[in-house]
């Protein structure tokens, strides 16, 4: 068999491809030259990032990728979604395989400093909670003393769980699981009394049960999980672009700019902040190294933060998450975009 030739083919072919690529430069320049944004996303998480039957990606994190692509390249479809696993995500970013990582990653001290990432903001405030069967009669996580708990190994949730039970002087038996699907299966099979993960995940899981009414998510939130997009340390201009794309989405909701009324507001809005945001006055885009209509395209792509939330994970979707902490600061939530001036 002389199929060794095959190896050479592909090796040579990819080397040609490799040599023709741009040399190291700013991420913005690279993205523009490539005419495509490489965005690291989850390999599949309900509501946040998932490919549909045709391979089109949709989801809450995916919308952010598309918004950045719209700001930089003028088209929300010029994104290559790079599925990353929990193990490969940060290395993929650090090694330059992706330009931005929007993969429901928790912003923590060590990740921001030690891993040399820059978290540019928070697009979803999550927290760890518990789900139990209703007939267990438990109404508070404080009553879970002695329970068996299904827990994903190798995640921050594992540490949070240990901290929480120790702080409250309770005991538990962990049932280690590998993935969310396995956790659901174990919980349904009765291998554990309680299933713990981020509340958004619990809600999505519960919604998929045949009998969601028989399960409750306990009110206690035992950890802070601010999920946000991350970029590489050191390219501050690129970090600014991603940060202000996110802020533009949040601010647009605050000022009532939606994908539907944006054309009209560009012409008629009298609010100076909206005018600056939409590029009708001042030159904010140039300060980012973009044109003046960048934020317009960002909002046109899949709407403002509220629209994205409602379309992917909001109460009208099967996942049915309430805004909660993720409401605007004016509505009692934590979303607070710095002023556009």
């Amino acid at each position: 068999m002389t199929k060794t030739v095959f190896l050479g083919t592909v090796a040579a072919a990819s080397l040609f491809a490799g040599m023709s690529l741009a040399q190291e430069g700013s991420t913005l320049a690279q993205v523009k030259e490539r005419d495509e944004l490489n965005c690291g996303v989850n390999t599949g998480l309900v509501g946040f990032a998932a490919p549909d039957a045709n391979g089109n990606w949709t989801g809450f994190d995916v919308a952010l990728c598309r918004a950045v692509a719209a700001a930089v390249l003028g088209d929300g479809n010029k994104v290559r979604f790079v599925p990353t696993t929990g193990q490969t995500r940060f290395t993929a970013l650090a090694s330059g395989e992706v330009d931005v990582l929007a993969r429901n990653s928790t912003w923590t001290f060590s990740r921001d400093t030690d891993l040399a990432l820059d978290f540019v903001g928070v697009n979803y405030y999550d927290g760890q909670g518990f789900m139990v069967r209703k007939d267990l009669g438990v109404t508070s996580a404080k009553e879970l003393d002695g329970a068996t708990v299904c827990i994903q190994t190798g995640t921050t949730t594992e540490l949070n769980l240990a901290d929480y039970f120790r702080a409250n002087g309770m005991n538990y038996t962990p049932v280690n699981i590998d993935s969310n699907a396995e956790g659901e299966q174990q919980y349904m099979a009765g291998a554990c009394d309680a299933y713990t993960t981020d509340v958004s995940g619990l809600a999505a899981t519960r919604a998929a049960f045949a009998d969601p009414e028989n399960h409750v998510i306990l009110p206690e939130i035992i950890s802070k999980e601010p999920l946000g997009p991350a970029v590489r340390h050191g390219d501050n201009n690129w970090g600014d672009i991603v940060r202000w794309t996110l802020n533009a989405l949040i601010a647009a909701e605050e000022y009532g700019v939606t994908s539907r009324n944006i054309e009209e507001l560009v012409r008629s809005s009298t609010n100076p902040e909206v005018q600056r945001l939409l590029g009708a006055s001042d030159d904010l885009g140039a300060m980012l190294g973009l044109d003046n209509e960048w934020a317009r395209r960002v909002i046109m792509t899949s709407g403002n933060y509220g629209e994205i939330f409602a379309a992917n994970i909001g109460e009208q979707t099967p996942i049915g998450l309430a805004r909660g902490l993720n409401a605007q600061w004016t509505q009692g939530g934590l979303l607070y975009a710095p002023p556009f001036r």
Partner: protein
């Protein structure tokens, strides 16, 4: 004859008894049951235990299978159908997910209008494999190629392949059948070219790339012929260097220039569009095809008398065998990026194929070394006595026997490697078992489905691996020379 006998024997039968059927206990089903299932207390207990387990499994899972739903748009719809048909609280399998995501399981995210390309590649692969796998069996080849041609052409029409490509596939498939009916060895050149053709068809792009890759070894061969006259000792090394130099320097430029002169491009498909069984089969077939020659070379190197070659082979084999495959995959996907110059793209599937090949080759080398060790020393000595040089002795006497002995081990390695292709899930590629199933579960329609994708993918893997195993048994029978 003896008079005394007639007086002492009271009765002598002088007619034959009519033939009677064998006693109940010694014939038919009862005998079979006795001999195979109840031939002793231990076997009886085991049989009863086995029946009990099978009964338990059927009782537990029968309703789940019996209530299968094949046609639904989402898990909730499945549940509604099951509840409506079998009553509230009934459970059932929801195979509709396979029907709904069938394309994704087979082709991954390959562009839908190009599905015919992988299909055609698989069909052509069977033509390329016919002379390699089924050289002396005309009947098997005929059946195989007729089925392949029919299935490939019908699927290509169903996938609305362009007419030109349809004609091309028909010519190759039917021409392959025609040639195979005459002399199958004439198909070997196609087997040699097929890897390049397959790569081009799967990934697309310019045909000039593969063509100039093919030019490399041809130049190398020319250099070899020239060097044979001038400096025979260095001829092989020079040939290899010429080939590599051509690939690394001239081939890329030449392919681009040729493309500018005469465009021979088809739509290119990026590696991240590959997934599902297309990905598994691509990695599996390339790995199998590449690891066997590499494994043979490593096994010979390890048996070699030359210290340097032997040590290199030992270090390589022991290192690769000592490291889990996942580690190698992580190295391929993550660590390499740090070493390569920034901005370089080194195709991820290619990286994975290289690592899987190296991994399988190390195991292969040890399996084949076992075969080499099993040969009686007399065979080696006989080769020497005939005056054969090293390569001739290996090619004509040692390897044919050693490989024949190693067939079960080699095929086991192949099967193991094919199943290991599912591990690419850890580097973000969409293998059918985990990544693709998780992606399917990540849609709101199918969240909460668990067993059905696993069972489906497992069944397909079983079919392929069982096929390989049966082929190896057939090969062993065919190569049997000891007339036992």
């Amino acid at each position: 004859m003896s008079e005394t006998g007639a007086q002492t024997v009271a009765y002598v039968r002088d007619t034959m008894l009519p033939a009677a059927p064998a006693p109940e206990a010694q014939s038919g089903a009862i005998k079979w049951l006795r001999e195979n299932l109840f031939s002793g207390p231990v076997n009886t207990i085991l049989t009863l235990l086995g029946i009990g387990i099978v009964y338990f499994l059927i009782v537990t899972f029968w309703d789940w299978f019996a209530h299968s739903v094949w046609n639904a748009g989402s898990l909730n719809e499945c549940r509604q159908i099951i509840a409506a048909t079998w009553g509230e609280g009934a459970r059932g399998a929801c195979w509709a997910v396979i029907r709904d995501r069938w394309n994704q399981y087979v082709f991954g995210f390959y562009p839908q209008d190009l599905y015919w390309r992988p299909t055609m590649t698989m069909g052509l692969m069977m033509v390329a494999l016919a002379p390699v796998l089924f050289a002396p069996e005309r009947r098997i080849r005929r059946i195989l190629l007729v089925i392949t041609a029919a299935v490939t052409l019908v699927s290509m029409i169903a996938l609305s392949a362009p007419a030109g490509w349809l004609i091309f596939a028909a010519i190759v498939l039917i021409g392959g059948l025609w040639i195979s009916e005459r002399n199958v060895l004439w198909l070997l050149p196609f087997s040699v070219v097929f890897p390049l053709l397959g790569v081009w068809l799967l990934w697309g792009g310019s045909l000039w790339g593969p063509i100039f890759v093919l030019v490399g070894p041809i130049l190398g061969w020319l250099a070899y012929r020239v060097m044979l006259r001038i400096l025979p000792a260095a001829s092989v090394i020079v040939a290899i260097i010429v080939t590599l130099l051509f690939w690394l320097t001239l081939a890329g430029e030449a392919a681009r220039d040729a493309e500018n002169l005469l465009s021979l491009s088809i739509q290119s498909v990026r590696s991240d569009r590959f997934g599902g069984f297309l990905l598994s089969v691509t990695i599996g077939v390339s790995g199998i095809a590449l690891s066997l020659p590499l494994g043979i070379m490593l096994a010979l190197a390890r048996q070699s008398d030359m210290f340097l070659i032997k040590s290199l082979a030992v270090v390589f084999i022991e290192f690769i065998r000592g490291v889990p495959l996942i580690t190698l995959l992580f190295v391929a996907s993550l660590l390499l990026n740090y070493f390569l110059p920034p901005g370089t793209t080194f195709d991820i599937i290619l990286r994975v194929i290289i690592m899987v090949t190296l991994f399988a080759a190390a195991y292969m080398a040890e399996v084949i070394r076992g075969g080499l060790a099993a040969l009686p020393k007399g065979q080696y000595e006989a080769a020497d006595a005939l005056g054969l040089d090293y390569w001739k002795a290996q090619r004509l006497i040692v390897l044919p026997q050693a490989l024949k002995i190693s067939i079960p081990g080699i095929v086991s390695t192949f099967i193991g490697m094919f199943k290991d292709t599912t591990l690419v899930t850890f580097v973000g590629l969409y293998d059918p078992l985990k990544s693709m199933s998780d992606a399917v579960r990540a849609s709101t329609d199918w969240k909460g489905i668990y067993w059905e994708p696993y069972i489906f993918v497992g069944a397909i893997f079983f079919l392929i691996c069982f096929g390989m195993s049966r082929y190896s048994m057939y090969l062993e029978r065919r190569l049997q020379r000891d007339h036992r």
